[in-house]
């Protein structure tokens, strides 16, 4: 559609994404957490009893919806391509680290933007770490870092993860098999059809716009082209207006919903996310969209995030409103070291880039 082409189109798609996030906020998703890829994958891990934290267990339809929206849109635009084979194990570990870093900060890059739109100054501080992480990843890309190319596979292979996830959502709704929080963030959610519908639209918009929080800044570093920021600006602007209009905007560090004020760990947590996402070729949202488009490599990254979410809660690595944990702080430092090792090891010049 012509209206979605060019720079104006990117902004419009961002505004559509923002309107979907706003709708989810109005209909019951947690404050400043209308849509958070990391938190919602962690909630799914809890619903499957991969972790036992009773306040964050719910099979979030939003994750299925975003992947599904991307699948439908990529099929409609003839962009669906089943691919695999680009260092899947490394991508799995990068997914785990992305998730644990996000849970030290308490949010993925998308939630960081939503928190910024709510006036949460901790998120503005975390942005420094996120951008620094991307810049570090870009440095290694310039040095020849690559996980290698992916190859085409049978079409159904690329859709397998999406199909299983959709089936699990149906099981969740029809049988109540999966755990569901009775209190805490996991108990706060929009009605399923609204959540699914909004996420389908959001996923479709993200597929068309190539929305990626890490890729936008990485491309700006290499091309000086900042047009990819327009989608993010659209989401931010809608949520900023909504928060001001609904009286939820408060420009503070203290008292923000599901957030802590330990600035150094907010920076380092998001440094891990920015670095790992750049090495994996996209932020958590982008990994969902790529999964929908048929990338099994991205699906493996999402599985890594699922396991990372379980680890973060089973071993008390995830932060809470009270602050970070000793384990979370130690693992954050270890992950930064590991990311440097992964980046350096994959920098050797290949015969064919």
């Amino acid at each position: 559609m012509k209206v979605f082409e060019g720079k104006k189109g990117l902004l419009i798609l961002g505004v559509i994404g923002g309107l979907m996030a706003m709708t989810l906020a109005i209909f019951g998703n947690p404050k400043n957490m209308a849509l958070c890829i990391a938190c919602f994958i962690r909630d799914i891990a809890g619903s499957m009893k991969l972790h036992q934290t009773v306040t964050v267990q719910y099979f979030r339809p939003e994750i299925v919806g975003i992947i599904g929206g991307s699948l439908v849109m990529s099929l409609a635009r003839k962009e669906y391509k089943s691919t695999a084979g680009s260092s899947p194990m490394i991508r799995f570990f990068l997914g785990m680290m992305t998730m644990i870093g996000a849970l030290v900060f308490l949010g993925c890059p998308l939630r960081m933007i939503l928190r910024m739109a709510g006036g949460d100054l901790n998120a503005y501080i975390a942005l420094i770490g996120f951008l620094a992480g991307i810049a570090t990843g870009a440095f290694f890309l310039k040095k020849g870092y690559t996980l290698g190319r992916s190859y085409e596979t049978r079409p159904v292979s690329g859709a397998a993860f999406t199909i299983v996830l959709a089936a699990a959502l149906i099981v969740s709704v029809a049988t109540g098999l999966f755990a569901m929080s009775q209190e805490g963030p996991g108990s706060q959610h929009a009605p399923i059809l609204i959540a699914l519908g909004c996420a389908l639209v959001f996923g479709a918009a993200a597929q068309v716009s190539r929305m990626c929080f890490a890729g936008s800044f990485r491309n700006a570093i290499f091309t000086r082209d900042i047009s990819m920021f327009l989608t993010i600006l659209g989401v931010f602007a809608v949520m900023l207006i909504y928060n001001i209009a609904s009286g939820q905007f408060q420009l503070t560090m203290e008292g923000q919903p599901v957030a802590h004020t330990e600035w150094i760990w907010n920076i380092l947590g998001m440094y891990v996310v920015g670095f790992a996402a750049t090495l994996a070729g996209g932020c958590p949202l982008r990994q969902l969209v790529l999964t929908g488009q048929g990338s099994s490599d991205a699906a493996v990254n999402v599985l890594g995030m699922l396991v990372g979410g379980a680890f973060a809660h089973n071993f008390q690595l995830a932060s809470s409103a009270e602050g970070t944990t000793a384990g979370g702080r130690i693992v954050t430092v270890v992950m930064i070291l590991l990311l440097f090792v992964i980046a350096a090891v994959h920098c050797k010049q290949e015969k064919e880039a």
Partner: protein
């Protein structure tokens, strides 16, 4: 005033590393052009692409082969 669009030859790659290698080779060999975000009409990815004036297509193809850079698609676009 908006920039006037012109025909450019645009190359997309399987990996970001390949796009960055293309930039290095192009600078070394004096090939006019620059890295751009992969155009949405060419790629479903959010990666990088190489863009040169349209008359450089054959030279680019030769550079890709001689330097063993794996490209995904080469197209002339108005951009």
């Amino acid at each position: 005033m908006p920039r006037k669009k012109e025909e450019r030859v645009v190359v997309t790659f399987h990996t970001t590393a390949a796009a960055l290698k293309m930039e290095t080779i192009a600078k070394r060999d004096g090939l006019p052009g620059k890295l751009i975000s992969a155009p949405r009409e060419m790629s479903a990815g959010c990666g990088l692409a190489w863009s040169s004036p349209a008359d450089q297509k054959e030279r680019i193809q030769a550079l890709l082969i001689s330097n063993r850079i794996g490209s995904e698609e080469i197209t002339v676009l108005l951009c």
